[in-house]
Amino acid sequence: MLGYALDRLLTLVPTLLAASLLVFLFVRLIPGDPAAILLGDAATPEQVAALTRELGLDQPLWKQYFLWLGNILEGDFGTSIFFGKPVLAVIADSAETSILLAVTTMGWIVLIGVPIGILAAVRQGSWIDQATSGLAMLMASVPTFWLGLYFILVFAVGLGWFPSSGFPSITGEGGLLNLRYLVLPSLTLAAPNAALIIRLVRASMLDVSREDHVRTARAKGLHPLRVAIKHIFRNALIAVAGAFGFTFAALVSEAVVTETVFSLPGVGRLVVQSILRRDYPVIQGVILIVVVFYMFVNLLVDLAYARLDPRVSLK
């Protein structure tokens, strides 16, 4: 297992390097002097000259890349044009919101997706199955920002149950109660993903239910619910567990839209605002971190597969 994990980790290195090269080239592809771009409009010629030396912009491109990569590995992602402080610190400020949003969203996805998926599979072909399948497809067809706007209109402006925007830190005044700011955003973000999980749980439950061990369990006269949970769902979970992982990994970038609708100070909104502000060092930093995170979660999912399902060969 450890050997397999190390092996997979090693295959990740070239992809990671290539991805970092793309992120590096991204700023170079923007027309103009990279040092001037990275410093923004307010920079003086002296500052531009200093950064040109620091980034080695007078050196060949491959040297610049390794210099840049070396800085990144030391934790130096450059300085934000807009905030005037290190990029890593800017990203760290928005990390709390993003992580909490992703975790609460994941909670909703499991809470909504799994029971409905099981129900649909157990009642295959019935009106319940048809209704939930239709509902799942509808949930996957709604633009998230539209759903978010109507959640705000109904539950925040209309009923006043939840705050409509922003997110004060849970370490500040209000403490854990501040999580109520995340209820509507996490539900918004969960909707299309829960739809996916409903369909997946249903499909993999139906797949497993055709297997021999399920027929044996039924033949023994076990209660249908017991068969559904213990014999079918636990096996179906292997396929679903992977989807949970991929979904979680994608949430950070999918949250871009939701965070904008609800004005949440998360990483997603930071990306959009940095793009609109042309704050390239921040864009570069966020993309790099999100990509690394995305790849590692995907790796963990693969490893979890190998662990959960002995049939996955550890080649």
């Binding site: 290539a18 991805a19 923007i30 239709g134 497809m137 633009p143 706007l149 109507y150 904008t260």
Partner: protein, 283 residues
């Protein structure tokens, strides 16, 4: 061609999928006949009729510039069809060629599929955002960006399928009888990929609508003056309480279009995969 016919037949067997097909036909008609169907010019300002409620002569009401919502929605269908088919075209052509060539020429495949892996290391929306940063906001660029994002998944799917087909007896027979590479790829392998490509196309069309709307909403999609459903939502979102129709109409149009395309895609996929055939009949 047999595959195509059986796919279409399976769509007809399902009530909802048929309704979806009818809706999509209506969207296409609106797109083609927009100048004839729209009662007003979608860009015409009418300062006297700002935020007019739905009624006569503005059936869907007007926006904060006094522009007719119905006319803008009809012209929006044009953008929806254009973005959808454009993205499908880019994704299938680029992804299809990369996937098929990679599976057929193994050495080239090592290189190309690695490149696909790298692009897939970027989450879809993030990749679209990054690409849009480098490009001007325009219809063509939006299509290129969304098409590129889905070209990666298409390449991976077609890579797997071509690899499988390559080992089939009929392909070997074609090679033995002296067929060239192009003939094997396009005359013998490609026809077997038509149905999965159709399914893929329908899902890409649906996703492209949502992605384009999201990009519009973030201010990184189509130019703001283009009447698209996403831009309508993005521009009028602050009037959600004062003039709710400004969000209900374009939103419903997006949902109906994406929903219809998903229904269609599902029906087609199930007809290809016999496991699903009797699963959800009638849905």
């Amino acid at each position: 061609m047999n595959g195509l016919i059986s796919v279409l037949r399976s769509v007809r067997e399902r009530r909802l999928a048929t309704i979806g097909l009818i809706w999509l036909a209506l969207v296409c008609i609106a797109a083609l006949g927009a100048p004839l169907l729209a009662p007003f010019d979608p860009l015409d300002f009418d300062p006297l009729a700002r935020l007019a409620e739905p009624g006569w002569p503005h059936l869907f009401g007007t926006d904060h510039f006094g522009r007719d919502t119905l006319s803008r929605a009809i012209y929006g269908a044009r953008m929806a069809v254009l973005i959808g088919t454009g993205s499908v075209f880019v994704a299938l052509v680029v992804g299809g060629i990369v996937g098929m060539l990679s599976a057929y020429f193994t050495k080239l495949g090592h290189l190309l599929m690695r490149a696909v892996d790298v692009l897939m290391a970027f989450p879809a929306l993030l990749l679209a955002l990054v690409l849009m940063t480098l490009l001007e906001r325009s219809v063509v660029n939006t299509i290129i960006v969304i098409g590129t994002v889905y070209a990666t998944t298409t390449a991976r799917i077609l890579f797997g399928m071509t690899l499988k087909l390559k080992g089939e007896v009929f392909v070997e027979a074609a090679i033995c009888s002296g067929a060239g590479h192009a003939s094997v790829l396009f005359r013998h392998i490609l026809p077997n990929l038509v149905s999965p490509l159709l399914v893929q196309a329908s899902f890409i069309f649906a996703f492209a609508q949502l992605q384009a709307a999201a990009l519009d909403f973030l201010g990184l999609g189509l130019p703001p003056e283009v009447p698209s459903w996403g831009n309508m939502l993005s521009e009028e979102r602050i009037y959600i309480t004062r003039a709710p129709w400004l969000l209900i109409f374009p939103g419903t149009l997006i949902i109906l279009t994406v929903f219809s395309m998903n229904l269609l895609g599902d029906a087609m996929r199930d007809s290809i995969d016999p496991r699903f055939r009797k699963d959800v009949k009638g849905v």
